[in-house]
């Protein structure tokens, strides 16, 4: 159905899906009569949920101001957790049949508790994902996966076979591979698609059936490849980092590009972090998923994973060189503890490597866009 559309038209469709992230899932539910599980937000084994015949979606932060949710979650918690609580409080998540929370960050744990209380009819599950990278970590993650599998089987009233998990892994691997191909293209031809386009690709992947998304990407990719030579490359090369559970606002991404920069790479969860690596298909599936958690964190370290064998600041220095980036823009969700904890080390590493960086601490309500604009422009002017 996308075959006759141009790449821009396809990207527009994906942007529409991303802007209204739960609509396709609701339609799918009507069409199939199957169940939807919302994931809150990072690091969930979506493959395992998919294998049970349900549709896992990654709940998305909404840019609208938090209103009803204020009564349930304090304003000094991060925007992403507050936004999901707000959606639940406003009844916007009533379409969910199941909900999985995680313990990767204390604010996410608290938020999941509150959402659980606000959605009494929704089956509330929990994924225990052990942190670290010790000899026992892999086995521990497998145990966490088995616990979740048990709960999902009860929820879906069916047993999940290894074959089904493997099949889901294949579908998800395909999606990750396709998005990585687009990333490769963008890193070489950064103006081929904007960072908002890239964000729409990832966001839409998180909220519609992966099979459908794969089809769209298979149509989009050759069209992008065909366009690449007609693109004029321009701008200061910027690498974008941070912004864990909530995608950076489109407004901020547009400001980066309007300031005269092009985004050549990122480590965003709504970005490269989500698709950096595939899951091995020739291993017992739960063991393979557990290994994937450790491996993908080596590719793109996440501060919530507390892995002593990875070094996020060094990864950023290496990425700057790998992508030939001139400058680093860090987008930090206000009150995001894991990020704040690492920032001083990142700052030191950047100073030592002589890499200019700009920290933008973004509050959910985005109170000072004019200041952000001036800071971004002045930062880009430094490189010109």
């Amino acid at each position: 159905m996308y075959q006759n559309l141009s790449s821009d038209e396809i990207l527009n469709k994906l942007a529409q899906i991303a802007a209204d992230p739960y609509e396709r899932a609701k339609e799918w539910k009507m069409e199939t009569g199957s169940k939807i599980i919302g994931c809150y937000i990072m690091h969930f084994p979506e493959e395992l949920l998919h294998a049970a015949g349900v549709l896992p979606i990654v709940l998305q932060v909404k840019e609208e101001p938090i209103t009803t949710g204020h009564a349930y979650y304090p304003s000094y918690f991060c925007g992403p957790t507050r936004s999901i609580v707000d959606q639940a409080a406003k009844g916007e998540l009533d379409f969910l049949d199941g909900f999985v929370g995680g313990d990767y960050c204390i604010q996410a744990v608290g938020g999941a508790e509150v959402v659980g209380n606000l959605l009494p009819k929704v089956n509330n599950m929990f994924f225990r994902l052990p942190v670290g990278n010790q000899a026992w970590t892999h086995g521990d993650i497998v145990t966490g996966l088995k616990e979740l599998k048990r709960d999902i089987e009860r929820f879906a009233a069916k047993e999940i076979s290894d074959e089904e998990i493997l099949n889901s892994i294949r579908i998800y691997n395909k999606n990750r591979s396709l998005i990585r191909e687009i990333y490769e293209l963008k890193s070489v031809h950064p103006s081929l698609l904007s960072s908002s386009d890239m964000l729409s690709i990832i966001k839409s992947s998180m909220v519609i059936p992966k099979e459908e998304h794969n089809e769209i990407l298979e149509t989009l990719l050759p069209k992008l490849q065909a366009n690449k030579d007609s693109i004029k490359e321009e701008g200061v090369r910027v690498f974008l980092s941070g912004s864990f559970c909530g995608a950076p606002k489109n407004e901020i991404l547009e400001l980066v590009e309007q300031s005269g920069a092009v985004v050549v790479g990122d480590d965003l969860f709504h970005g490269y972090r989500y698709i950096s690596d595939n899951i091995t298909e020739d291993r017992e599936p739960l063991a393979a998923i557990a290994a994937h958690y450790i491996d993908k964190n080596t590719n793109v370290p996440c501060p919530t994973r507390c892995d002593p064998k990875t070094d996020w600041p060094q990864y950023l220095v290496d990425s700057m060189r790998k992508y030939k980036a001139d400058q680093l823009v860090i987008v930090m969700a206000q009150f995001c503890e894991p990020h704040m904890f690492f920032y001083p080390d990142i700052k030191d590493a950047m100073q030592e490597a002589g890499i200019p960086h700009l920290l933008l601490e973004i509050s959910h309500e985005l109170d000072s866009i004019e200041t952000i604009k001036t800071r971004l422009e002045a930062f880009v002017e430094m490189a010109v």
Binding site: K232, E234, K322, P356, S368, T371, I372, T374, R375, A378
Partner: protein, 302 residues
């Protein structure tokens, strides 16, 4: 003032369309200031900007067509149609400060809506900067609101506050809360001069934090409308433990920097907008090319 007839006949202009004032500076081909003007007329007023431009042109005995290139800066920088290019206040203050005082390493700009601390290199380029990013606290606006609450003219608060040796603390940095704090201080019987001095201390405390984010490097220059407030300058010198250099006309430094950039653009010393577009070609490849998939991808494709 020199006019067209007794000097160079090549002119560029910098226009700073600030949040509360419009400023214009005209320089000649030898980068000497020919004329300048500062006009105040309310928020980001196009009218004040146009008045400043007309005034500067008139003082120089020039018309707009005599100006080879104009660069705009400040909040309203994007809206000035006569400008060939617009640049942020941060780049322009650094450039202007460096022109007046080439040794300067730190520029503190307290403007109407925001405050900035800029680390400047010996060529006048921005090395690093910090900007108050949350609210009006520590800005000209903060002082204006509080001066109004105390029924004092903004231009008087500096001198007045110097008369105080009291130690009044204004703890709230939110302009609205600070206003009610000031009202309670008045009700408690504190004098206006003591409260003004407390306000300046509050702002300098806040600025010290901002300076800390960039790192204090001597010598320090203060620019923007805030630098005309002697009470604030003294409070800041005290909290930083450093003397601060104040140019004769601190409000025009941004416009001066813009005029200097305009000269660079007009004379080709700096790339024009079109030439800046293709930066990629000028860039050296990354050091560890051998292991880099992107690099190899690029090489294979070429």
């Amino acid at each position: 003032m020199t006019s067209k007839s007794d000097g160079s006949s090549f002119f560029t202009m910098g226009v700073d369309s600030g949040s509360l004032t419009g400023k214009a500076v005209i320089i000649d081909g030898n980068k000497r200031i020919v004329s300048y003007s500062v006009k105040q007329l309310g928020f980001v007023s196009q009218k004040a900007v146009m008045m400043a431009i007309d005034d500067a042109l008139e003082k120089a005995g020039l018309v707009l067509d005599d100006i080879a290139y104009t660069v705009s800066t400040g909040y309203g920088r994007k809206r000035l149609e006569i400008a060939g290019k617009n640049l942020t206040e941060i780049s322009c203050h650094a450039k202007g400060a460096n022109y007046l005082f080439p040794e300067v390493k730190t520029v503190i700009d307290i403007g109407g809506q925001d405050s900035k601390v800029i680390a400047v290199d010996p060529s006048g380029n921005v090395k690093n900067f910090a900007m108050n990013d949350k609210c009006a606290a520590g800005t000209g606006q903060f002082l204006e609101v509080l001066a109004r609450a105390l029924d004092v003219e903004l231009t008087e608060i500096g001198e007045l506050s110097m008369q105080s040796d009291a130690d009044i603390k204004i703890s709230s940095m939110c302009t609205t809360f600070a206003e009610s704090e000031v009202i309670s201080l008045v009700a408690e019987g504190h004098t206006t001069v003591d409260i003004l001095s407390g306000m300046h201390k509050a702002i300098s405390g806040r600025m010290k934090g901002l300076v800390g984010r960039v790192g204090l490097q001597k010598p320090v220059m203060m620019t923007g409308g805030g630098a005309k407030n002697i009470g604030l300058v003294h409070a800041l010198e005290k909290s930083l433990g450093e003397s601060i250099f104040i140019p004769d006309e601190p409000q025009i430094i941004g416009a001066l920097g813009a005029a200097l950039f305009a000269n660079d653009f007009a004379t080709g010393n700096r790339k024009k907008v079109e030439e800046e577009q293709d930066l990629d070609k000028a860039r050296a490849p990354a050091k560890d090319c051998g292991t880099c998939s992107v690099q190899n991808y690029q090489l294979n494709k070429n």
